[in-house]
């Protein structure tokens, strides 16, 4: 700060060091080609990054991939106020989803707690010059000076990226929207809040279909909420939603208009040996993702990630421990509310690797073929650009290696909640509070 020297005793360092709450990234999403990466933050802003393409004529070196640079920034949502309930509506962007590209422009959906917006992102790199009636600055010419007619021509200009709101889908939700998912039909999408799921048509903003409603007649009986929802990547009539009780429900919209009755329910029976007062809380599913193939589901609960086969409802086919060493700390984590953190999970492009976040800026990757997991860190101080990420370990007993981190030294304020994996290559985007890390696999940049 250092504005004046009259108050030398006042310590300004806290102002320098603090993270602006509004800059905390709340969602990360690649588009379908992976050339664009969008992030949303708590301040309601969306930042789009674009991958630099190789210069024409240069041979593309294996492993030398383009970097992501800022392409556009815009304010998606503003803080709002619900006058009926006298409550503020946060402008934090909960989710961003890209639409499949159909023309030169890109479209994305962004949502806060209540309102979903469709944005059109288009480029303008030419402008017409040589108007007859207007001069260069756009002012109307004096007609008497016009002696001849000319045809305006398009001249290249600096690239301009324009972002305009095309649709605003409001008043569809009483509760907080936690998920949006674009349907494979390219025309509809769903939005899910704590108790209901609506299906919208991308072109219609004043109507939506309610397809799931789990609100009990008597709110006293409420014991379960919807935590995430997603359309099947290939079947436009199927979608899945997860609940706070750890169940997954697959619904078929052909069965009935209101899909309260699930077609399949995926639930793992509780392990009686691990029962505690926190069992239910840690079983709550924070994220659910279909695999690219559409055959599997990936879910994240507090301590594990699980892979489910759509054909088998009685339990997951694979379970990976993310941070089992926290099981003995559940009471503390309950006290400081960390137990309610909602971590996301992602598939790689071939569905062979899954990834999720943890604490202390750690994130975990699991190779499904070998069953092995690795811990990596997204922390500026320990990784320079182009440095190889080294694996980390949390010390839980046995031989302690150098670099191991003790469980009690973990920083629970540094949580990796949001992440995305490039749809085709081994490039990942990790949001760590207000920083975005993009990591590329140089050894195997292209997935087989």
């Amino acid at each position: 700060m250092g504005e004046d020297g009259e108050s030398p005793k006042i310590n300004h360092s806290f102002l320098r060091d603090y993270v602006t709450e509004a800059d905390v990234i709340s969602t990360v999403e690649f588009n379908q080609t992976g050339d664009l990466l969008a992030t949303g933050d708590k301040g309601g802003r969306v930042v789009i990054f674009q991958r630099e393409t190789q210069s024409k004529g240069e041979p593309e070196e294996l492993g030398e991939s383009g970097e992501y640079n800022v392409y556009s920034t815009f304010q998606s949502h503003e803080p709002d106020f619900d006058y009926l309930k006298s409550l503020e509506i946060e402008e934090k962007i909960n989710k961003i989803r890209w639409l499949p590209q159909q023309n030169a422009a890109h479209f994305l959906l962004s949502t806060n707690d209540k309102t979903i917006k469709l944005w059109k992102v288009s480029e303008r790199d030419k402008r017409p010059e040589g108007y007859n009636l207007k001069d260069e600055e756009g002012r109307v010419k004096d007609f008497s000076t016009v002696t001849s007619l000319q045809v305006p021509v398009l001249k290249p200009t600096d690239l301009m990226v324009e972002v305009r709101p095309r649709r605003v889908f409001s008043n569809g939700h009483t509760y907080h929207v936690n998920s949006i998912s674009v349907n494979s039909d390219g025309e509809t999408y769903l939005s899910a809040d704590d108790l209901r799921i609506n299906m919208w048509h991308l072109g219609i903003t004043d109507r939506s279909f309610n397809i799931v409603d789990i609100k009990p007649a008597n709110m006293e009986d409420l014991t379960e909420v919807i935590t995430a929802a997603e359309f099947h990547p290939k079947h436009c009539h199927l979608f899945v939603y997860s609940s706070s009780k750890g169940t997954l429900r697959l619904c078929d919209m052909r069965a009935s208009a209101l899909c309260d009755k699930h077609s399949k329910i995926f639930e793992e029976p509780e392990d009686p040996g691990n029962r505690s007062f926190f069992s239910e809380i840690i079983s709550s599913v924070s994220d659910v993702k279909f695999s690219h193939s559409g055959r599997y589901l990936l879910t994240r609960d507090y301590l594990t990630v699980k892979v489910w086969d759509l054909h088998m409802e009685k339990g997951p086919v694979e379970t990976y421990q993310v941070h089992e060493y926290l099981r003995s700390k559940l009471c503390s984590l309950y006290e400081n509310d960390c137990i309610f953190d909602k971590f996301e999970c992602v598939w790689n492009s071939t569905d062979s690797v899954i990834m999720t976040g943890a604490y202390n800026s750690f994130f975990r990757m699991f190779d499904r073929e070998t069953g092995r997991g690795v811990t990596l860190e997204a922390w500026r101080e320990s990784s320079k650009p182009r440095a190889v990420l080294r694996t980390r370990r949390v010390y839980t007993g046995g031989r302690r290696r150098r670099g191991d981190v003790g469980v009690d030294s973990l920083d629970f304020t540094k949580k990796i909640l949001h992440m995305a994996w490039h749809p085709a290559e081994n490039i990942i985007a990790i949001a760590a509070t207000n920083n975005l890390y993009i990591f590329q696999d140089r050894v195997n940049p292209e997935t087989q």
Binding site: I10, S276, I281, R327, S328
Partner: protein, 308 residues
């Protein structure tokens, strides 16, 4: 911290003692420790439920999970038989003043350690109906108007969204002031402090567990009601006035508090800075919901920024 996986010791239900082996001092200790932990967890959960009222828009998922945890604990306590005579307490409450459950009875919450002292039992039967609460009013505080409160008591009968009963309120006060000072003091209006200070220490021993249980039942029943604890009792006011003489009396104004709590933007450490640059009216910014400590922070930050 507490160890994980607190064992469920009463699978059959209704048994007071574990069946395996003879009760030894170790087991009794373990049992007492377990009860203590469980009680502490219950307290924590109830406080969390109350605190979430203060957030601008409570996170429904979190609230539901906490409420389920509370329910689970209460069910287990019922099986244990440590669920005290809520019925008796309700009788007292009913006999108390007014229509509201906020009746005057001198029920006060006591600190956890007192409750967990062995032998501290309510008079009368232990066969009280387990008051398995049901969480209601998730819509309450958000979809309906705040219930007007008459004077200092809370009217909880008519409206579905409401306020915590007086007894529970005091439970919270005690809990907050004694055990949880580090919690966000947005919880309390100054009235609470008034009430707590007034409490007669001897009265603590009365109806302790009943108060707590009854309070819990009501609290979780009204989890999303506005719960301004306004059941101030007449007491030695001079002493109180002395203590709180530096507090702006407008904080005591119920309307200010209620509207302030509802309308005040979520105040986090960074929001305070933002709010400095906005011209908030004194009533909204100065509402008790923001509490004195926030104002102190505000002053502190103002000082730094102004450089005075």
């Amino acid at each position: 911290m507490f160890s994980k996986g607190t064992k469920r010791k009463f699978p059959d239900g209704g048994e007071e003692l574990p069946e395996e082996g003879l009760p030894s001092s170790n087991e009794e200790l373990a049992s007492a420790s377990y009860s203590l932990q469980r009680q502490s967890l219950l307290d924590m959960s109830l406080i969390k439920l109350q605190l979430c009222h203060m957030l601008v828009e409570p996170n429904l998922c979190r609230s539901v999970l906490i409420a389920n945890t509370v329910r689970q604990i209460q069910e287990e306590m019922t099986h244990d038989g440590s669920w005290q005579t809520a019925a008796m307490i309700e009788a007292i409450a009913a006999a108390g003043s007014g229509c509201s459950g906020a009746g005057a009875p001198p029920e006060r919450l006591v600190a956890t350690e007192v409750l967990c002292r062995p032998g501290r039992e309510m008079t009368g039967g232990s066969d009280a109906e387990p008051k398995l609460f049901s969480v209601m009013g998730y819509d309450g505080c958000r979809e309906e108007e705040v219930v007007a409160v008459e004077e200092d008591s809370i009217c909880s009968e008519a409206a579905s969204n409401v306020c915590l009963s007086g007894s529970m309120g005091h439970c919270w006060e005690r809990g907050v002031l004694r055990g949880e000072r580090e919690l966000d003091s947005r919880l309390g209006a100054p009235d609470e402090d008034v009430d707590v200070e007034e409490e007669d220490e001897e009265e603590e021993d009365n109806d302790l567990e009943g108060c707590r249980d009854e309070g819990e039942a009501k609290a979780t029943r009204q989890v999303f009601g506005t719960f301004e604890i306004k059941n101030s009792h007449p007491g030695p006011e001079s002493a109180l006035e002395e203590l709180f003489s530096d507090v702006d009396p407008s904080y005591y104004d119920l309307d200010t508090v209620l509207t302030g709590m509802q309308a005040a933007p979520k105040i986090g450490p960074y929001d305070l800075l933002d709010s400095l640059s906005q011209s908030h009216s004194p009533s909204s910014l100065g509402s008790a919901a923001n509490c004195r400590s926030d104002l102190n922070e505000l002053d502190h930050i103002m000082e730094i920024i102004v450089g005075s």
